[in-house]
Symmetry: C2
Subunit: 207 residues, 2 copies
Amino acid sequence: MTPPPDSPPDRRPGGRTARIRAQVLDAVRTELGEHGYEGLTVEGVAARAGVHRATVYRRWQDVGGLLADVLDAAGEDDWAPPDTGSLRGDLTALNQQIQDSLVVRPSIPQALMAASFRSTRAADAQQRLWEDRYARCEAVVERAVERGELPPHTDARRLLIAATAPLYHQLVLLRTAPDPGMPADAANTAALAAAAGAFTRAAPGAP
Amino acid sequence: MTPPPDSPPDRRPGGRTARIRAQVLDAVRTELGEHGYEGLTVEGVAARAGVHRATVYRRWQDVGGLLADVLDAAGEDDWAPPDTGSLRGDLTALNQQIQDSLVVRPSIPQALMAASFRSTRAADAQQRLWEDRYARCEAVVERAVERGELPPHTDARRLLIAATAPLYHQLVLLRTAPDPGMPADAANTAALAAAAGAFTRAAPGAP
């Protein structure tokens, strides 16, 4: 949904096109939270957004296109991972944000993950969003390396997956009741494993 | 689907009722693998199983009931976690089984997880199956404690979640390409964290 170079003046940020997009994506999130994927229709979204449905069809084509744009829009924010001064603190705060986003009802991230099993376009956009979020989180590991908390050749992605995967696994797939200790537990586990060298790659050029 | 105490003689294991159930559940798995949840219908399952659809409706009611019984049937096997002689070896072998089951195409476990977002009955049965599988896997941790590889007050469930969650997270939610090193990496991470005391509970009666 990035405007092409020859876009008309009203496509500037804050212009009419951007305003319609914001209204439509808000409507998608609300409808998704209320009815889930099942209840999501282009007509329902257009009506709730107060936008002509022809506009929605032209710009987003179908429900998959709407979901994909909600996911792409989620990646356009300036979110950065928490910076608490320690690896364990950063991972715990990150996990707390993840847990909060998954246990709130309705949980839009949960609904989007469920929807990504239904639509290829949503699945592709969900994958882009994961990739973007994990890439931003690498700052947590870089800071820990700079502070000397971690060895230089630490595989940031593996460490971040180890720290966060138990929350998604339990709250999305296993559907276990939220445990207030889970964010810190999973963070501690990853930090202890990291200190024990679990994510250390061979130095470049090493045999 | 356990037969009630007053079940007629043909409900004995291997009897007609058991045979029909096996045919129907095989048909559910095949249809699910070929068409996913979208293409799953009571009529299609009955036709493939060669069973009258009234029989399927009477016994399973709907697609949710069929999926729930496939999941319950998966828990009726005599599966036990691998026993290789070491914690790291057991967890790696377990993760290899998980990875194999998730990357094969079609993957019935993947299809059942996706379906559990669509049907409450399937979600409940999926939860029972996870619970049963993780309970059986606690033997891995018990053996490691007996061998002296782990302290006695190790939280088996947290260790098992830490060891296995990265595979489910990456292969089911993140949809990253399978990495042949992932089963051993995730197992090593959990084993290193365990050795560093990540899953040690306070001894009963301790302050």
